[in-house]
Point group: C2
Chain length 236, copies 2
DNA sequence: TGAAAAACATGACAAATGTCATTTTCCCAT
DNA sequence: ATGGGAAAATGACATTTGTCATGTTTTTCA
């Protein structure tokens, strides 16, 4: 269930600076303000569903979203995350295909829907927007090839270590030093590409080995260099 | 080693019809003809290498290319293939990043290099080219999410069955009914994401079960519906 | 706030997959 | 055409990972 949220001006949106709209002329943002719809959503609520046709894109004003694909055994695979300033749903819209994955909120999230027609007229108005989106899509393609290679070649243990570090980079740490995102062990498993029990066991191992500490279910990365080593991470 | 090939006109290129240039105005193709360089390459020769900076894109006039990423144990992971009419190297160029993967010819292949400046001026000249490329990139992103989900959730046996069908669709069959692409068992393993020996064993099993036949090392798909079932393929 | 549901945790075992060693077959460059 | 090197094939075995069962803890919400 999407509940309408108050529409604020894009111009004043705190997340615009890091978004694909950062260099879009302010005067013309008013057109977006006119056409967009904003929604307030809670954890577990769905922004869009795999298999449906897209009619626009969603710009995230606040919150965290997981993008995932459901396998034919009904098990989800998390492909990536999106947060403030990110745009989601552009892949399906711009390829003219159905959504290849679903998007679900991980916490209280505010998204603005920009209809296809508005977006396309923005493209012609100012070509840097299309180029920005192209850049995002191409960057994501590179990320995807890394993920593919990791899934194909690394062990479960290595992948989990790497993902803990990726989550830390992506979401940062809260006041207790724990990774600031609310994920269940099952969701973690759906990212690593393994069974929930395997993730639980590995997290216990990591704790015993001093790589991490636990604060309830939240993970506190402790020994970063050991995590890097465990994850066999060699950044270019 | 790239050897220069005779430059033919893009306008007459047999693979232009299926390429991102299919709706580019013929008159303006002359500019590409002026700026491009064409190369003739043999199996195993490298078009570009992971980690290098791109200076343009490559358009494939004839032949087959594998796009792969080398893991940190030195093992390659094949991400995708490209053939006549496909464009490669656009991801790195348009994201402003280094090549995230390498490209190597699977057979005698002819490619035309289009420098960055020429490409960008083509973008501004006729915006449909940028949109075509965007569409390709976004489509590939959807393909990548399928691959990720398969690697994470399917068994090696299931993935191999699926890949045999994908290769059949992608490259077609030769006169003997065998999949028309020259891949070693190791390369197959680097696609499936498993050990070479595992692929060899599974191919033997598939043969014993009547799913495929072998013509030397080439694979002849025999029982398609059984392959679909084995690969647990449920197309949307 | 307290009962039910969900999430977390752990053990025991089975199944899948990888590794190493060895032999056979095929391909291609001289 | 042919000898050498690469690729394919197969066996034996180790290791990793998944599955099922069960108990505990945490969260949710009526």
């Amino acid at each position: 269930m999407k509940r309408f949220a108050e529409k604020n001006l894009c111009e004043n949106c705190p997340s615009r600076g890091q978004s694909v709209f950062h260099n879009y002329p302010k005067e013309q943002l008013a057109e977006v303000d006119r056409d967009k719809s904003c929604f307030l959503m809670k954890r577990g609520e769905i922004v869009f569903n795999e298999g449906n046709m897209p009619h626009g894109i969603y710009c995230i004003k606040k919150g965290k979203i997981k993008i995932y694909k459901t396998g034919n055994e009904g098990k989800d695979q998390i492909i990536r995350f999106a947060k403030e300033g990110d745009v989601i749903g552009y892949r399906a819209l711009l390829s003219g295909e159905k959504y290849s994955s679903s998007a679900s909120c991980l916490e209280e999230t505010e998204v603005c829907f920009i209809p296809k027609t508005a977006l396309l007229s923005m493209f012609s108005g100012h070509s840097c927007l299309a180029m920005n989106l192209m850049k995002v899509a191409c960057h994501e393609l590179g990320e995807a090839s890394k993920i593919i290679t990791n899934l194909a070649q690394k062990s479960t243990r290595e992948r989990l270590a790497e993902i803990i570090l990726v989550l830390k980079e992506n979401f940062g740490l809260d006041k207790d030093g724990a990774i600031d995102v609310n994920l269940t062990r099952e969701e973690l498993a759906n990212m690593v590409g393994t069974a929930t029990e395997s993730v639980i066991r590995l997290i216990s191992d990591f704790k015993d080995e001093g790589l991490i500490e636990l604060q309830g279910k939240k993970i506190i990365p402790k020994n970063i260099s050991a995590l890097i080593k465990t994850g066999k991470i060699v950044e270019a």
